[in-house]
């Protein structure tokens, strides 16, 4: 099963504790304490998910996040002690799929990890079309005018969720539940940041989006009109 998790954290006690919890839940954790060695460890272990502490010695969490995202769409969950909007948004913009605030509960952490790993489970053959963007759900590819666009799994999930019901307006809360797997109301900044990143990849003009459209005061929908 897919359960290799790379834990990038400099706090030995927390890393060990995370190891105990993750092993208890059936994952295979590997550890790296130094931000500079994180990319190397990532290449060696090819994990299914990266658990990344935002504050690291050497290159900090945000740099590590960018480096990994530069090579792979692997789910990245950030661990952060900072709740300030700037820190969270910066982390998300650097490519993290989700974040979890310290101090967290083991169950919460495991739920977040499972939510990020779950989506690759059952691909059903399905083709979707919004504007000039076509989506092959089973083949996990998105094309615009025949040109393949590289989306991370999370961005792909977000696009698919919106495209499956075109013209239906999704609130941020609904998207959080469908895409991220949150059952309770969570941080809607997650949605905002990821929609921005998705637009940057699929829209002709991200300033005037035509595929993922904002409905002011409510949320987002796929397709124009």
């Amino acid at each position: 099963m897919k359960g290799r998790v790379l834990v990038v954290d400099d706090d030995a006690a927390l890393a060990e504790m995370l190891g105990i919890v993750l092993r208890g839940e059936g994952f295979e954790p590997t550890f790296v304490a130094d931000g500079d060695k994180a990319l190397e460890a990532f290449r060696d272990t090819r994990p299914d998910l990266v658990l990344l502490d935002l504050m690291l010695p050497g290159s900090d969490g945000i740099d590590v996040c960018r480096q990994i995202r530069g090579e792979s769409g692997v789910p990245i969950v950030m661990l952060t002690a900072k709740t300030d909007t700037v820190d969270v948004v910066l982390g998300l913009e650097s490519g993290a799929d989700d974040y979890i605030l310290k101090p967290f509960k083991s169950k919460e952490l495991v739920a977040r990890i499972r939510a990020r790993l779950r989506r690759t489970d059952e691909p059903a053959p399905e083709m979707l079309q919004i504007g000039d963007v076509s989506i092959d759900v089973a083949g996990h590819s998105v094309k615009r005018n025949g040109e393949t666009l590289s989306l991370t799994p999370l961005e792909f999930d977000l696009l698919v969720a919106l495209a499956r019901k075109p013209r239906q307006v999704f609130t941020r809360e609904v998207l959080l539940e469908q895409v991220w797997g949150y059952r309770h109301a969570a941080d809607t900044r997650l949605v905002n940041v990821h929609v921005q990143r998705l637009r940057a990849k699929i829209e002709q003009d991200p300033e005037h989006p035509e595929i993922v459209v904002t409905v002011r005061g409510v949320g987002y929908k796929a397709g124009p009109g």
Partner: protein, 599 residues
């Protein structure tokens, strides 16, 4: 000149002054001012009455506000008074001097004239008839009449009163003026008395003197003059002189005009100097005041311009020194508080990592508590719950430090307040069910839209609701929502213990607890309302409390509909509403009764 004469002359002085004053009053400029003043005054008074309040208020305001105006005004009044008094005494002195001078020279002339008159023949015999008398009087008159053009006096020859009235006898031998109107009766009487005295050998040889007005033509206007009268010894004739003071009057007029001119110029000069000097002083003071104002308004860079090395420069220098040291102190304080806030923030952050480990470890222990013995199992339970509490405290501490360091940001977007109220009621509902009370919602039918930060408003409301249920003494909690054009408001009403006097402010203090004894059993960090207040302020809104012992309390949150707008009023009252007063007093009564029965 004998002693007696001088005395008489002295006694007559006040009359002379009166004549001078009369003369003074007739002066042209006095008449001009007197004729001009009433008109201007009436116009002025009328205008003043018309604009009374405005003008008087304005003048008073300017007088109170402007140091310069006060100094100039005071200088004007004082200098004008001093110069007027000085001028008056000076004029008086000069007038006295002139008069004395004129009198002396007149006296000399009169005495000389008398000597000449006495050399006239036929004086020693009483006049036979009017013609003889007329002849003698006329010749004396011609003898004494000044010959050249520079006539400084006029002569009149009179008769003893025994002859004066007799038919055929002339009253006067006088040329060019009306002797009857000119010589005052007292002078005539004195001369007559003297003549009689001489006849009886009691001659005093007195020259009589009186101020008078020289009347040239009968019924005409006179001019100031001095008159001398003396009986011609051993005869029935009397000799009178009148010296017009025209020249002296002109001199005096000239002196007065000069004095007034100089006085006015002096007063104006003094006013100008006062104005200039105060301006020198006032301008830098005004600059200082303005600079101080700006400084107190927070512009700490404000400094004064230092010029020269005088007192004003010293003021500017010390002002600048003060501003600089103030700025330093403020900077120091700012730095200190920044360091302190950063420290709180850092500590809260740093604590989070070990906290995570502790929490995860505690969870593992907690899950396996059934395998432990009773004491260890209970310990893990306590560990678990206290970690929760610790974490809440940490979160609140971080939140308040974020507010303190002004890094809290408002993520405002349009939302329906009723919706937020319903969402945030979850926790409180559960607590209410456990406590056995109800939360009643009074929400308007239409949405109450406002630009708010959902997360913060939900946090405020959760806090208010949980507090209301916790302190509500199991009585129902009422949540009311209302909106007007500018603001939306939520009021959370409980009928619990209420708040004591002054506690409606204290509840928002950090770590303040109404009842220290019971506080430890109830949860909460003691920062909830402080954070709620900061959150409300961040919205530009209000969070206020009302409460009375035994009548419960009301917490009202008012937020502007448009983020950043200021609000002037709340759509909801702060306090028990009218309909509620009766029921609440009943409740109070019941509470008292139940309290009493319990006791």
């Amino acid at each position: 000149m004998e002693q007696g004469s001088a005395e008489r002359v002295q006694r007559d002085q006040p009359d002379a002054r009166e004549a001078w004053e009369m003369a003074l009053r007739r002066k042209k400029w006095v008449r001009w001012i007197v004729s001009w003043l009433p008109h201007q005054l009436t116009v002025g008074i009328r205008t003043l009455l018309r604009w009374e309040h405005l003008v008087i208020a304005k003048i008073r305001h300017r007088w109170r506000r402007s140091l310069q105006l006060r100094v100039v005004g005071t200088t004007l009044v004082i200098s004008a008074t001093v110069i007027a008094v000085l001028g008056f005494f000076l004029t008086e002195q000069i007038a006295d001097g002139l008069l004395l001078n004129a009198e002396n020279s007149a006296r000399t002339q009169a005495v000389t004239g008398l000597g000449i008159a006495q050399s006239q023949s036929g004086l020693n015999t009483p006049p036979q008839n009017g013609q003889v008398a007329m002849q003698i009087m006329g010749s004396i008159g011609r003898l004494l009449q000044p010959t050249n053009g520079t006539a400084t006096y006029s002569v009149a020859v009179g008769l003893n009163a025994d002859w004066k009235g007799k038919p055929g006898f002339p009253r006067w031998a006088a040329t060019g003026f009306d002797a009857d109107a000119t010589f005052p009766p007292t002078l005539l009487a004195n001369v007559q008395e003297e003549q009689v005295a001489q006849e009886h050998g009691k001659a005093e040889n007195l020259l009589y003197y009186a101020p008078t007005t020289l009347v040239l033509t009968p019924g005409g206007r006179g001019e100031p003059a001095i008159a001398f009268g003396v009986p011609i010894s051993n005869s029935q004739y009397q000799l009178y002189f009148v010296f017009p003071l025209t020249e002296e009057q002109q001199t005096l007029q000239l002196v007065q005009t000069t004095l007034i001119g100089v006085g006015i110029a002096l007063v104006a000069l003094l006013a100008a100097i006062a104005s200039l000097v105060t301006r020198w002083v006032v301008l830098p003071v005004r600059h200082a005041a303005r600079a101080a104002q700006r400084l107190s308004a927070g512009q700490l860079e404000e400094r004064m311009v230092v010029g020269g090395a005088d007192d004003l420069a010293a003021l500017a220098t010390s002002f600048n020194d003060m501003a600089a040291s103030l700025q330093d102190k403020l900077r120091e304080l700012e730095e200190l508080s920044k360091v302190q806030r950063q420290f709180v923030s850092d500590v809260s952050h740093e604590l989070r990592t070990p906290m995570t480990t502790i929490r995860m470890a505690a969870e593992i222990l907690f899950e396996s508590r059934e395998e432990l013995d009773a004491a260890a199992a209970r310990s893990t339970e306590l560990l678990q719950s206290q970690i929760e509490r610790f974490e809440t405290l940490l979160t609140d501490l971080l939140e308040i430090s974020r507010h303190d360091s002004n890094v809290a940001t408002l993520d405002a977007e349009p939302a329906d307040l009723c919706d937020i109220v319903r969402r945030s009621a979850d926790d409180a509902q559960q607590l209410a069910e456990r406590k056995g009370c109800r939360i009643e919602f009074r929400l308007p039918a239409q949405a109450c839209m406002a630009e708010v930060d959902r997360r913060r408003v939900e946090r405020i409301l959760r806090n208010l609701l949980v507090n209301a249920v916790e302190h509500g003494e199991r009585r129902d909690v009422v949540v009311t929502v209302a909106a007007d054009s500018d603001a939306v408001a939520v009021a959370v009403r409980d009928h619990g213990v209420g708040l004591g006097p002054g506690e409606d402010q204290l509840v928002f203090e950090r770590f303040w607890r109404a009842d220290p004894a019971r506080a430890r059993t109830t949860g909460g960090t003691g920062l909830g309302l402080a954070i709620a207040l900061e959150d409300a302020r961040l919205h530009g809104g209000w969070l206020q409390a009302w409460g009375e012992k035994g009548r419960g309390s009301v917490f009202r949150l008012t937020l502007p509909r448009v983020a950043g707008h200021s609000i002037v009023g709340s759509p909801l009252p702060l306090g028990p509403d009218e309909a509620e007063v009766v029921t609440s007093s009943v409740t109070t009564l019941e509470a008292d009764l139940s309290g009493g029965s319990r006791a």
